[in-house]
């Protein structure tokens, strides 16, 4: 975060400080990711007009609709591309990777726990 720490004149040796390896992502990769993101956007719009059907989840009484599943899967793919390349996580330190992953993990755990409470309540029967 602090400007004093990172990237000060990279030709300068930092004595005992560990040298911060700074990876510069090339414009070719950015361009490639841009094209991929636009293609996925087209794909998700096209898929939204098609009824992809549904699936009964055994005898749980829940039905899985494929349209939102596909839409969210494409959104997650796009997010992964943005995070890995535009946000440089692929080239970042293990600490950054761990921070990002733990953030998503906690987010999913919170959603998961809320949902498990929601589906396991005896709605309207108390």
């Amino acid at each position: 975060m602090s400007e004093t720490k990172a990237n000060i004149d990279q030709t300068h040796k930092h004595g005992d400080e560990p040298v911060h390896e700074h990876h510069i992502v090339s414009p070719a990769i950015y361009g490639l990711i841009l094209v991929a993101l636009l293609i996925f956007t087209g794909l998700t719009v096209a898929a939204s007009f098609v009824d992809l059907g549904q699936m009964r989840l055994f005898d749980t009484g829940f039905t899985l609709y494929w349209n939102p599943v596909v839409a969210l899967a494409i959104a997650c793919t796009k997010m992964t591309l943005v995070v890995l390349f535009f946000m440089h996580v692929k080239y970042s330190t293990k600490l950054t990777k761990l921070t990002v992953l733990s953030g998503f993990f906690i987010f999913l755990a919170l959603i998961g726990m809320t949902l498990s409470d929601y589906v396991s309540r005896a709605w309207g029967r108390w």
Partner: protein
């Protein structure tokens, strides 16, 4: 910066969670209300935002390569694309105003109790009339729509303001002397706002269209 973004994930996460539950409870209302959104504008805005993320990434690259002209150019492009996004968003908001779809302020359920009263949407989706109690829940959809896209737009406005500040500084030679951290962190913020939209777009616009 990443820690700040994680708090933002939790913040938007609450809204997404609310949307998820309400959609399950009032499914027919959410389906018919989402038919009121314009996929054309939504797709255009998605493309605009993704391209602005690309130009932002190129700004970071230009700063790292210490090219002042390129940095200013890409920051200005990002600035313009951000404004374009808000412009399109304001067209959509204006349409909601005209159609009485502003929850709490200017709202009417007539497009849902009597779908034929909105011929443009009706000819595409042939929605069935909703009973009045379910139709009243469409207001909840629009409340979440405005809360989520409004909060997202607020992030865009803040981002555009910071972009303006950065363009001014970059013109005077900042960020191209090896101190790229500010541009880099702002890039993370901008990409994060893009990711939020990547999820808002399918959830609000797309998933009930077939």
């Amino acid at each position: 910066m990443w820690l700040f973004l994680l708090t933002e994930v939790m913040f938007f996460g609450g809204l997404f969670m609310a949307y998820l539950l309400m959609r399950n409870w009032y499914y027919p209302a959410f389906v018919e209300a989402s038919h009121q959104l314009n996929i054309g504008w939504g797709t255009a805005n998605t493309a605009v935002l993704i391209i602005s993320s690309f130009t932002m990434a190129m700004s970071v690259y230009s700063a790292e390569m210490r090219r002042r002209g390129a940095l200013v150019m890409f920051l200005v492009l990002t600035f313009i694309l951000g404004l374009a996004f808000l412009g399109i968003k304001s067209i959509e908001y204006h349409e909601k105003w005209e159609k009485f779809h502003i929850p709490g302020i200017r709202y009417s359920t007539s497009a849902f109790t009597n779908p034929q009263s909105d011929p443009e949407v009706y000819k595409e989706y042939h929605d069935k009339p909703l009973p009045p109690d379910m139709a009243s829940k469409t207001e909840l959809y629009f409340f979440l729509y405005f809360a989520m896209t409004g909060m997202h737009a607020l992030h865009m406005i803040i981002g555009i303001a910071i972009l303006g500040f950065m363009i001014y500084k970059a013109k005077n030679g900042a960020y191209t002397t090896g101190h790229v951290t500010f541009v880099e962190n702002f890039g993370l913020y901008w990409h994060f706002v893009d990711i939020i939209w990547i999820f808002l777009f399918p959830l609000l616009y797309l998933i009930s269209r077939y």
